[in-house]
């Protein structure tokens, strides 16, 4: 018997088709019914216009798309024999704003998605506070906009640098927004200090927490999510950043990676046409996102969790909470390392003469985001986008399950629907 479920509030919609056997999911396929055709919209446009168009792929992670576009253009310069050497100031400002977007995403995911979904699963009557997530996200967006002018849909990163030339005033102001965010997170979510939280060594110590995360963790344990939602125990990180390490992990064994080995393949979606494609690395499916990134740097508490609960839904959810905390702290040091007297932009040769291919790879909130361009005299001949949700939420045959398909197998329908959301699904990105 196949049961169709319409999934909403995932930055768009998707349908899951469950094949049930003995009351649990035997096999699930996923389809994304909407199509927007951004890759073909980009074709024939000036490559600089991509800086305005690609952030509009996605309202929640458009900044990551902007950075992927800029990365692809700078890579094209390199392939054409002109390396664009970015100074530390440019790199730090870009990293800071990217991280602020990840933080806003995680705040929303915790309060607007995961806590309510878990409450629904456990039929809890707790009053929901989704606007805490919106508030946290809005403060992160302020810090982001201090450099990028606005969020969503900034275009302040350009090949060779950033358009902003901040003074100490802006840097201090951004720092005070991060401080405000840390206080809010400590007070509402943790009940202990950020440093204490980051230094926890074992999951057993979670009972020292007092805020919303304590309730979240308790509910996860109650629903036995530490024994459910396992994927392939394979993790993939591709973006080069100073808060994680590009690598693929099979369990805890790490291997080096190169984004050129990523390919997208057709989805298996027998019940309905899907506009998504599955992303693979060397013909294998990997989980991407916060759990993968925290495993790649061997973050102590996440490693501890993984040792005990593997890549369960519990580990996936809690790793994201830890990533949020870790990035809050990391962003402070980025701000401190901005040297005000460096240039915000290094001049490149005329982009109208640029003929080359290029690839930009960024760790977006949900994992690796890849933009590949082919440009001739500054005009886009071909533009290809592969998004993190394509890695996590592909839909494949039973013999080669994608991470989300694998994680939903063997669960009740209600559990499977919750586990689906632990991947933080982005429908609009998937079908770009």
């Amino acid at each position: 018997m196949t049961i169709k479920k319409l999934i909403e509030q995932i930055e768009g919609e998707a349908n899951i088709y469950f094949d049930m056997k003995d009351g649990v999911v035997d096999f699930a396929t996923v389809s994304f019914p909407h199509f927007r055709g951004l890759e073909s919209i980009l074709k024939g446009k000036h490559i600089m216009d991509a800086l305005v168009i690609t952030p509009r792929v996605c309202g929640i992670c458009g900044h990551a798309h902007l950075m992927a576009t800029v990365g692809a253009i700078e890579d094209a310069y390199k392939n054409a024999g002109e390396e664009v050497l970015l100074n530390e100031k440019i790199q730090n400002i870009r990293e800071f704003t990217l991280i602020m977007e990840i933080i806003q995403n995680h705040f929303k995911w915790i309060y607007l998605t995961i806590i309510p979904s878990l409450a629904k699963l456990s039929q809890s009557q707790e009053i929901q506070t989704p606007l805490k997530g919106a508030f946290g996200a809005s403060i992160a967006s302020k810090a982001l906009a201090t450099f990028a002018g606005q969020w969503p849909h900034s275009s302040y990163m350009v090949p060779g640098g950033v358009t902003a030339d901040p003074t100490n005033m802006e840097i201090l102001k951004a720092g005070s927004y991060v401080d405000e965010l840390i206080s809010f997170f400590e007070k509402e979510a943790l009940g202990i200090s950020l440093d204490k939280f980051l230094n926890l060594e074992s999951c057993k110590e979670f009972n020292t927490l007092e805020g919303d995360i304590r309730e979240l963790e308790k509910a996860l344990a109650q629903e036995e999510m530490n024994k459910k939602g396992f994927s392939h125990d394979r993790f993939l990180v591709l973006g080069e950043h100073n808060y994680t390490t590009p690598s693929k992990l099979k369990q805890t064994r790490a291997f080096s990676v190169d984004a050129k080995y990523v390919e997208d393949v057709s989805t298996y979606s027998p019940k309905e046409k899907s506009y998504a494609k599955n992303a693979q690395y060397k013909n294998e499916y990997y989980e991407t996102g916060p759990l993968s990134r925290m495993m790649a740097i061997g973050f102590p508490i996440v490693k501890n969790m993984h040792r005990r609960f593997k890549d369960s839904a519990y580990s996936r959810v809690m790793a994201r909470v830890f990533e949020l905390a870790y990035l809050l702290k990391h962003s402070k040091s980025l701000l401190q390392s901005i040297s005000i007297d460096e240039l915000s932009y290094v001049k490149t040769s005329d982009i109208n003469n640029l003929t080359a291919i290029g690839r930009g790879v960024v760790e977006a909130p949900r994992g690796p985001l890849i933009h590949e361009i082919d440009i001739k005299d500054g005009i886009i001949q071909k533009y290809k986008i592969i998004t993190p949700t394509q890695f996590n939420i592909g839909s494949s045959q039973k013999s080669s399950l994608t991470p989300a398909q694998k994680a939903m197998t063997g669960l009740t329908q209600e559990e499977a629907l919750f586990v689906f959301r632990t991947f933080d699904v982005c429908s609009v990105c998937t079908t770009h």
Binding site: H46, G59, I60, Y345
Partner: protein, 301 residues
Amino acid sequence: MHSKQDKRPTLLWIQGVTCNGNTHSFLNLPNIDQLLSKFRLLNHPSLAGEYSFEDMLTCKFQCDILIFEGTYDPLMKRGGVLLSKIVQHYAQTAGNIIGLGSCASFGGMFKASAPERNSGLIFNEEKEYGPLLKYKAKVINISGCPAHPEWISYTLSMIAAGKRVQVDELHRPIELFSTLAHHGCTRNEYFEWKVDTKAFGEKEGCLFYQQGCRAPMTHASCNKILWNEVSSKTRVGTPCFGCTEPNFPRQNLFSTKTNMSIPVDVPLGVSKRSYLTLTGIAKTFHVKRLEGKLIDYKKTD
């Protein structure tokens, strides 16, 4: 769930072809809880409403205010139901309809997904066209890519208070769209004395002459009320792309089309000849203060 005495207007937020940018812009609104408390939220793309999205698709309900985000595609289906059916059903009895963002207002970014059939609710770019023309008197367009959260807040609050929202010929609230994005730009001196910016990443110079800035031709209050309460595109050296206008997105967004080094498109309402004359005169004044760097960090070390 609401009680029978709950007299607050009902609000439904439906999406067409979209990136969710307006939804996320709205979530940045500082007083979002106070604003939402004025309405009964039936369903929303990311906030919990009284009903599920599937309930809404049955078209057995009605709403007082319909917010539509995204480009309208008559062949699109939401949850298996034709968008045209959903939109027509709720529009029919809604007292107010809001076309939210430039996609819903004029077609915007995702008009290009299917240019032969996609449009805004009552405009295809600046031409009257769209599924809700027969209800155009109750349609308010809040253009922008995305729309500013305060613009959404203003419009909803006016409706909740029973006040009339006066609109321009493109159905945008006049109080929000009568001024230009240029108003409040911190680079105004450079604009006045026609000093171009030399490159990206500079505090100095005007972005209008080379970098494609559309602020002097774009109706919006971005530089007056600021984004995220802190900044704006031009304040961080990014040109305005004219995202609130019906012709967004234009092409070659980072460059200004010029004729004899004068922009082909001149500030709104100014005659080309006058602008040419004024520019010529202004350029003869060499304002030394505006020609160099404002701050030299190396020197002050």
